[in-house]
Symmetry: C3
């Protein structure tokens, strides 16, 4: 456990599980997020790829006070937003960017958003991340729940600032880098959820894992929903880009999505007035429930895969927002407990699970950049392996008959 | 008026009324709240008990930017939250805590709350204090007022950050410590209220007084309501803990509270699915209107009293939220101008008073820790003295016939 | 280009258009607003009148974190609020103040306002400026638009903090001082507006110009509305103060305003229970569309003029809130694209224009203090010149038949 002296004095050695790890608290009740630049060299870690972690604070406009943590693995820069539910803003590897170009150019501090504004669509004033957490009381379109309460778009998670943020680096290979952030969703009589989020990666990697644990700290069983709104624009998304996954069932989200059902796995070029189509997918998993969703460009030379488990995240939304670039040319690969209907519609679908008192639920997704045809092909082969010849049910009709406006 | 030199340079000598007092402005337009630790020793005050005042700022999550002022009398630590309406977070004397364990663990900055969220119940996302100010335009359950405006739960006071905070210490015995905070509730055409709050105590005390002055700065008479939501959990609250007050009339808040009316002055142990019962009380006062409400534990060896005046605060709500500990095992002793019905229902009860232009109303409550059987008995005796054999009317039916949901 | 050394190191020389100018960024993503005091002497500028620019940050209450920029031309102190849409708080020349006394005494940080509160009237909790920007998606009274969305009073502009603020001073006479602030109104799928605001003045001036450019960065045409809520109290406003403009058509905003239509250009003394009357004016312009609106005191010795162009701002609201001083004795001279009806009512009036993708619209208003009878008379003469004997249509009935409550 040789290491260089740490002059900044903020790094301590802790046992994290069985392995020894460097650990530093970046944010806590008595500790504001300070500007820091932590490097593997400073930590005395001899990883093959030097890595670094940089924190900063944004100013001006609705960004005032927002903090960012950028993990540079040496091969990919992953930017996390503690102020916005530990969302992943983007991940950049060389000239490939995982993420998208939203019209929303600021990283918006939740203090400046009214989620109840725009009839429950206020969330759209801050939406621009690669990975946006949705939940955990509800997800889906805004509207009144059966008891008359307005449920705002996709819940509070993305606009919940992390109460505590801890960075750790394992002292042994592969020197796993972990950024943990705690989210509290608490309201007297209503909810007592804590979400322990983690993003981990390793030096030199062009992938990262989001690993969250939702705990119901309350004394009563509660409904919950989770959805990981994972969004990709160019260069992955383009005309004839494709989506692949082992699919047990697919159906159009609404009537509008019916027309493109035959080509639901292929993307259009930016298309004026297209707006969006959404397809509700129930993926197959392997014997352990593990599955893989893949997005790749037209030539099949560049892509991304999301590895997750259908026992944790059984419902998968494919959101195809192939409108113009200025409108936000983007697709969402969205593993969830639920689809994007308002919660009131999902109970009948058995997609509003409950979590008992003191129980926890884990959600894990690994995002892997697929650089080159070989890696894309490997991922597609894995999809085929999981599908294993099993049939795909294509439902022509939406699962929910939404009211006409 | 001998005193030691004050190096910090922030303490000035002012005449406060007739007495001389040390005074320092902790927060003002041109002065952010800074971390301070002020001690009686530094002030050169020779009180029998050394005391101190500490200010700090919280970070992370929805706490970002929240300031606290902790007054340590030498016998009790009283924590006030300027960012949240000068509410009293808790008061701790040795191993006795006045306050409660809410599922809401953060001291929430109002910037992060939408009071209009959850159909007007957003307030619950920040509710965890010992003394939470409710008002001053309205109190009570959320719902539309007669003109169609959504009144959010218990008004804006608890989520109104203080504009100016001043600490003073009298230079003569009993060296009264005063923390003053100014709240502004102003909206063009709607309201121009200023609430001059004060919390005072003395060195060595295990009691404190909240003394507020509401002023209608506007040119028109306005409706107003005030309610001091004073909340106690363990160790005072427990199975067979009891409430006592001189009672002129008591009635159940709603149909659900009817069942427990016979035992309304006794508390249950934490009870799953109990939710809450509320009893509307009109207390008797003595010839000057002074009255006393007492909560004590089962053995009658530990309690708290609230001394107030029924000419200021004629309506008293006893809120019995004896649900599970995780749900928030708590009782509220709530002196007010009004009960907790939505304002629209209280006009007929004559519990929506008006305040004329430039008029003021004062509200004063003294919270006293009762340590030991003697002190509890003294308080109960005082209650009996005020009751003075006068009759208690027990109304079986709620004052308001609330609509069924 | 001789100049003194600038020790602060924040001033750089840039070419702004054709002229050379000092320029400094006061606020940007990586630059918080710092307390500064910049003087013409420090800049080495030999203007006839020394001038200065001072920045500061406010604390306490709902002001926490608000920044101000005060431009002192040497003859007038103009205070701008970057945190509130670059609004102009007030402009003071000697003992004459342009601005008014609102019951709202704080300069409110938008983080603490819920615009959706008070049924869409939350905006009133922050309204106290001389120039309050309204728009740019909508202006007008709150209420549901035809699609059911609650439009909050006067849009988001006034509660949009500027993302970037730049100060520049031309290096050649007249040494124009420019304060530029960028506002972003962006919501995925809904809007992508950027408003480049500018306030400019010159050393020694008692006037300033607001010059804004609205750009629709999106790929779709959008509805927009703008209204410059320009508000004046004493000493300009008083009994028998008068309004003058070249008027093509005037009509009462609603039934209540009908009664005072005969005297719509004359002001009352503060009048209890008057509330407000509003008159909808279509001004005449000269051949280029330029027009002038004038407010002056009873003796015609003190006034203000607003010079603007009816091709940019065709609709003008005269808001006469001559209620008591405490209620806010104030008149609004409001050049706009639209009147103050809810957007749903203005489409039929052709007062909800659209802006195509990548298009811009400019809005320019020059506010000039008129000191002395000569200047007031000159302004009134200019009004007459523009009117040029053309007829004024006085409509007795409001343009919109509002529903009765």
């Amino acid at each position: 456990m040789k290491r260089s002296a740490i002059s900044v004095g903020i790094i301590a050695m802790l046992s994290a599980g069985s392995a020894m790890a460097w650990e530093t608290t970046l944010l806590d009740t008595d500790k504001p997020m300070a500007a820091q630049h932590i490097t593997s060299a400073k930590l005395g870690i001899k990883a093959a790829k030097p890595f670094s972690v940089t924190t900063k604070r944004l100013h001006g406009g609705r960004q005032e006070g927002v903090t960012l943590v950028e993990i540079d693995t040496g091969a990919m820069k992953i930017t996390v937003v503690p102020t916005r539910g530990m969302n992943v803003l983007h991940a950049v590897a060389g000239d490939v960017r995982l993420g998208w170009d939203s019209p929303v150019k600021q990283v918006v501090n939740p203090a400046f958003i009214e989620l109840n504004g725009r009839n429950g669509l206020g969330w759209l004033e801050g939406f621009n991340e690669l990975v946006t957490r949705c939940g955990y009381e509800w997800v889906g379109h805004p509207g009144e729940d059966t008891d008359g309460t307005l449920l705002t778009l996709h819940g509070l998670a993305a606009n919940t600032p992390a109460t505590k943020v801890v960075l750790s680096v394992d002292e042994k290979p592969p020197y796993t880098i972990r950024l943990k952030g705690e989210l509290k969703q608490q309201a007297f009589k209503k909810v007592d959820f804590v979400i322990d989020t983690e993003l981990n990666t390793v030096p030199g990697a062009t992938e990262f894992t989001v690993h969250d644990k939702l705990t119901n700290q309350g004394d009563y069983a509660k409904e919950y929903q989770a959805l990981y709104h994972s969004n990709f624009g160019t260069p992955l998304l383009e005309k004839d880009a494709k989506f692949a996954a082992p699919v047990r069932e697919v159906s159009p989200f609404n009537d509008y999505a019916k027309a493109d059902l035959p080509t639901w796995q292929t993307y259009r070029a930016p298309t004026k007035d297209y707006d969006e189509t959404v397809y509700n997918v129930f993926p197959y998993g392997d014997d352990d429930g593990n599955t893989l969703a893949v997005l790749h460009n037209a030539k099949g030379e560049l892509g991304v895969s999301l590895a997750f488990n259908i026992n944790q995240l059984p419902a998968f939304s494919l959101w195809k927002n192939t409108d113009t670039e200025g409108q936000g040319y983007v697709t969402g690969l969205e593993p969830g407990t639920s689809f994007s209907y308002n919660r009131r519609y999902q109970r009948d679908l058995k997609l509003v699970p409950t979590i008992g008192p003191k129980e926890s639920r884990e959600f894990m997704i690994t995002y892997t950049l697929l650089s080159g045809k070989a890696k894309v092909d490997d991922a597609l082969k894995r999809v085929e392996t999981i599908q294993n010849g099993r049939e795909t049910t294509v439902r022509e009709e939406p699962l929910v008959a939404l009211p006409k406006h």
